[in-house]
């Protein structure tokens, strides 16, 4: 596209140059013999001049031809419809119409664009009051279970999330194949042991790195106990029966924000500590840190 | 919670009560390579809980010594030597290094069924090698021991092959002899001599495959 425009410009320039040179040819022809030709052999001088001018015109013409040859021709006729006749309009007051036409064209173009975007957004946040769809076409989609999923699907999901966060290490451990238990280490801050049921997060426990990997014993530290509870709340919040993968993904995204658990101060009070705990709450949307009391 | 006492005080109290296992009762013997299978089989039958097969081990031991020339002519020995052994498992990860001090064999009476020597055993962090070198210790020798261990009550039986360290690479090791070293040992607080009798009875059961005996190192030293 860029190149096309450049070439078009070059061609237009070449035409301009050709025009001005043709003009100078006619000028010198119309002027005829001038005083600066001198007396001696003024005809030959004039002819020389004319010849020179004509060769430049010739060269310019070749340039124009080259430039035009470089241009990619428009596919098919470029129809402007009835607007083509506007260019032939001679009355003064109607010559402005073309500009207005272009403006209105731009308008409609934008409207199309915006409505497409709005349509997408509206489709995403539908006013459906229920997830249950009664049309047969869609039913097949909804009946896929999130509880009973092929292990590869979960495997793929986990590894794709793993790739998403470089500072998080995932260690899957699957005693029960369709329901893996993964260990998620968040940098050197903490680790979580997450049990899945199919694509649904079923249990989370957050601990310090030095603690055991047992799924049922909670951490000895208050911070991690608190975060465990918040993880359960987040599990509730992000739960989405229709888009289980999205639920897991957004949960992980939210969970990842705990990487700043000890270093980030509370967004509201600006302190690190409140009742001897760092900000243990992370907002579900903005992922900003808050104390339990400040949220 | 009671006031935490001084660690040294509690240690000396423990020493007084004889609850620190610092005596090693030991019997040693050897078995030729071709009979070791038979021995292992017998041990499997005799020892506790070998349903999952014998436990193998693969250790690297380095012996350090700290010595100073003794200037005082009155002492019998020209040098005072203090040797320490550092051992670590090569086959099992995240196990501690083991630092070991083995004292002189107790002279005792001849009727004692086993060798008794004092021994201080402790697990330590991996900085021990550097620590000992900085302490002024020199490496005396090192070897690789690979084999099996069994237990029978408090007794520990190890059947191990000793390898020379060939260069720096751990793969290029070569066996020292055509036989396995068999050791029967118990670590106990001092004064529990009854265990020696148990060991003797157990050793009887391994005859004639292995003759487990108390070996007098001093005499060995004289031979060599």
């Amino acid at each position: 596209m860029e190149r096309d425009i450049e070439q078009l410009n070059a061609a237009l320039n070449a035409i301009k140059v050709l025009r001005s040179n043709v003009r100078s040819v006619f000028e010198s022809v119309s002027n005829g013999l001038r005083a600066d030709h001198g007396d001696e052999g003024k005809e030959t001088k004039f002819i020389y001049e004319l010849q020179e001018l004509l060769t430049t015109v010739n060269n310019n013409l070749r340039d124009v031809e080259n430039a035009v040859a470089n241009l990619t021709p428009q596919a098919g006729p470029f129809s402007l419809g009835n607007t083509t006749y506007l260019s032939q309009e001679t009355t003064q007051e109607r010559q402005a119409l073309y500009g207005q036409l272009v403006n209105s064209y731009k308008w409609t173009d934008k409207i199309r664009e915006y409505s497409a975007v709005a349509g997408n957004i509206l489709a995403a946040n539908s006013f459906n009051k229920t997830y249950k769809t009664y049309s047969t076409a869609k039913r097949r989609k909804t009946t896929t279970s999130n509880h009973n999923v092929a292990p590869e699907v979960i495997e793929n999901l986990i590894s794709s999330i793993d790739r998403l966060f470089p500072d998080v290490t995932f260690t899957p451990n699957r005693p029960l194949v369709p329901n893996p238990i993964i260990q998620v280490s968040l940098g050197r801050v903490l680790k979580a042991i997450i049990a899945f049921k199919g694509l649904m997060i079923e249990w989370v426990v957050v601990k310090a790195h030095a603690e055991s990997n047992d799924l049922w014993t909670e951490s000895r530290y208050r911070v991690f106990k608190r975060i465990t509870e918040n993880c359960h709340a987040a599990m509730c919040h992000f739960h989405s029966p229709l888009m289980p993968e999205l639920a897991v993904r957004s949960f992980m995204h939210w969970f990842h924000s705990y990487i700043t658990l000890f270093s980030a101060p509370c967004k509201r009070c600006g302190n690190h500590l409140n009742s001897n705990l760092p900000p243990t709450w992370r907002d579900f949307r903005s992922l900003e840190p808050y104390h339990e009391e400040c949220k | 919670m009671s006031l935490p006492g001084n660690a040294m005080d509690s240690l000396s109290a423990a020493l007084k009560c004889n609850i620190i296992p610092n005596q090693e009762y030991l019997l040693q013997g050897s078995v030729l390579d071709q009979y070791v299978e038979v021995l292992l089989h017998r041990l499997r039958g005799l020892c506790d809980n070998v349903d999952s097969g014998p436990e193998s081990f693969h250790d690297h031991e380095i012996c350090f010594s700290l010595r100073i020339p003794n200037t005082a002519a009155s002492t019998p020995m020209p040098m005072s030597i203090f040797s320490l052994r550092v051992r670590r498992a090569l086959d099992v990860s995240d196990t501690p290094y083991q630092l070991r001090y083995i004292g002189q064999q107790e002279l005792g009476d001849k009727n004692r069924p086993t060798v008794v020597r004092s021994s201080i055993d402790m697990a330590c962090s991996s900085t021990i090698l550097e620590f000992l070198t900085e302490l002024g210790c020199r490496i005396e020798f090192e070897y690789i021991a690979r084999g099996y261990m069994f237990r029978k009550g408090r007794m520990k039986i190890t059947v191990s092959k000793i390898f020379k360290m060939g260069g720096n690479k751990p793969e290029s090791v070569e066996p020292i002899s055509q036989s396995y070293l068999v050791e029967l040992s118990v670590l106990a607080p001092s004064g529990q001599d009854a265990i020696g009798e148990d060991m003797r009875i157990f050793a009887e059961q391994l005859r004639p495959l292995v003759q487990l005996e108390k070996i007098d190192y001093k005499r060995l030293g004289n031979i060599m």
């Binding site: 001897n276 | 935490p4 620190i20 330590c124």
Partner: protein, 207 residues
């Protein structure tokens, strides 16, 4: 396992016991619960001259890690740390021929131990060969293992109960190790640093 900050503390015109009293009142007011006592002691052994250039072995015990003996070997240029079972003391006795202990330099910090949330606070009275030397305050934040991550948080906590005299910079020992994983041996290093300071400057805190 958490990050520990050790700092000296003194109040104008107050004796040691009075200072401890003030501090313990403050920390209890913040909601701390007293959980027993604590004791950190340090014994120093030096090599006999026959062993060549002099080396010093500091053997420390921390009641927080009751199964461990920490030894720091100082050969003049660098310090090698070692953590072992409790029997290391026995070994040191056996080595008395090579390393002799200087009883008069035995230092210890002992006092009350408090728990407040995930923090441990220890208010220790330091004595060197049973002479009072000063107050050491130890604050440990247990869940975190990287000093750099929780230094600000610890600073805030320290300021909360030590007031303006709280340290504004991490201890010198930690400054080079802010990004590393903190281990109990780092606490021991800090104690040793303070103990040597107390040993060298006798009695300046005795006011």
């Amino acid at each position: 396992m958490g990050v520990t900050i050790l700092t000296q503390f003194a109040l104008e015109n107050k004796t040691g016991p009075q200072t401890v009293e003030v501090l313990s009142k403050r920390i209890c007011a913040l909601g701390a619960v007293q959980q027993g006592h604590f004791l950190v002691d340090c014994e120093t052994y030096t090599s006999v001259p026959q062993l060549g250039h002099q080396r010093t072995v500091h053997v420390l015990h921390n009641s927080e890690q009751p199964a461990t003996v920490f030894s720091l070997l100082d050969n003049g240029t660098k310090i090698t740390a070692l953590a072992t079972d409790g029997l290391f003391d026995l070994l040191m006795m056996k080595m008395s021929q090579f390393y002799t202990s200087k009883k008069q330099t035995k230092a210890e910090s002992k006092g009350l131990r408090y728990e407040i949330g995930d923090f441990y606070v220890k208010l220790g009275t330091v004595t060197v060969s049973s002479n009072y030397k000063g107050i050491l305050v130890e604050v440990e934040y247990r869940p975190c293992v990287v000093p750099a991550m929780c230094w600000d948080l610890l600073k805030e906590f320290l300021q909360g109960f030590l007031g303006l005299t709280a340290p504004t910079n991490p201890p010198t020992y930690l400054q080079n190790r802010m990004q590393e994983v903190y281990t109990p041996i780092d606490t021991i290093h800090q104690y040793l640093e303070h103990f040597t300071m107390f040993r060298k400057s006798p009695g300046i805190y005795r006011n």
